[in-house]
Amino acid sequence: MKITINGEPHEIEQGLSIFDLAATLELAPDKIAIERNRSIVPRSTFAETRLCDGDHIEIVCFVGGG
């Protein structure tokens, strides 16, 4: 199915959880925050939160800034 991650279209398989997605992307869950369709996904619910077709996902982390 199709989802959008950080503005880019991605093709992923059915039934993936946010946790799975992070794993696929090789992202350490404790270093990121995730928004799904404009609402924040608490880290505690990464595993149980399943992705749906057309989801808009934002994955952010801290970078250097003034």
Binding site: I5, N6, G7, E8, L25, E26, L27, K31, I32, A33, I34, E35, R38, I40, P42, R43, E58, I59, V60, C61, F62, V63, G64, G65, G66
Partner: protein, 257 residues
């Protein structure tokens, strides 16, 4: 006489110098500058993770959040909504509710949009954030921000990244005189004496990024800023001599041969 420490939202800090983490050649240089500055708080930005380049270095691997208070900012946000959305993500990512709000007006001046800034402050305080606010040197808005519950007022000395120092010492002084929360000059410091001047006005701290990151030798400038902030603070507490129109000898006039 010993200075009382800087207290922001109940947290006690011995350093009055907050530094940014942008514009450094490397995170490694950044980390050494932070150490030389004796900083306890560093501002950080929130950005999309880089999905293409996995090996890109991560800030947290160089500046350990266990050793530095991360102060997420909203640099690049031009509306209250963007700023709030950014800080909610930051809170989730880091688990901290102490944040730096900046709602900017335009790319050319990065001057704060005070109406939006006040609105965002009210909403963030409502949402449980402890908000340190980048703002103009308008003493009226500074009062409103404090009434809205911000934990620190951070007026610009001059435009972000301009290095023009404290343009309007009168307004900064007025804000210091009226405020019950810490006043921290944010933006505009260009060299050490600028930081000293800000502190001599009675500010509780200084926040800077470019002055250190774009110095010829950032590590040495970071150390210079550490000393400048202490110097200005102590001079303010000590109380300076009166200025005089004419000379006044330092040696006794009596007993001359």
């Amino acid at each position: 006489m010993v200075d009382e420490p800087l207290v922001i939202a109940g947290q006690v800090f011995s350093s009055r110098l907050i530094i940014g983490t942008g514009k450094y050649e490397t995170y490694e240089q950044n980390a050494r500058a932070a150490e030389a500055a004796g900083a306890e708080i560093v501002t950080v930005a929130v950005r999309r993770v880089n999905l293409t380049d996995k090996d890109k270095p991560l800030l947290v691997d160089y500046l350990d959040p266990k050793n530095y208070v991360y102060l997420p900012n909203t640099a690049g946000c031009f509306t209250a909504d963007d700023a709030i959305r950014t800080l909610r993500l930051a809170r989730e990512a880091g688990g901290w509710d102490l944040v730096k709000l900046e709602v900017l007006s335009d790319q050319k001046t990065l001057y704060p949009d005070m109406a939006e800034t006040l609105r965002a402050t009210e909403l963030l305080v409502e949402d449980g954030f402890k908000v340190m606010v980048y703002c103009s040197d308008d003493p009226v808005y500074a009062r409103r921000l404090e009434d809205a519950g911000c934990v620190a007022i951070m007026p610009l000395g001059s435009l972000i990244g301009s290095g023009l120092g404290v343009q309007n010492p009168v307004n900064i002084r007025l804000i210091v005189e009226q405020s019950d929360v810490p006043v921290i000059v944010d933006a505009g410091v260009g060299t050490a004496s600028d930081a000293a001047v800000a502190m001599e006005l009675g500010c509780d701290g200084v926040l800077m990024n470019t002055a250190i990151a774009e110095a010829g030798n950032p590590i040495l400038m970071a150390s210079a800023m550490k000393h400048a902030v202490i110097a200005g603070r102590e001079a303010y507490l000590a109380g300076r001599m009166a200025k005089k129109r004419y000379a006044d000898p330092s040696s006794p006039l009596a007993g001359l041969i």
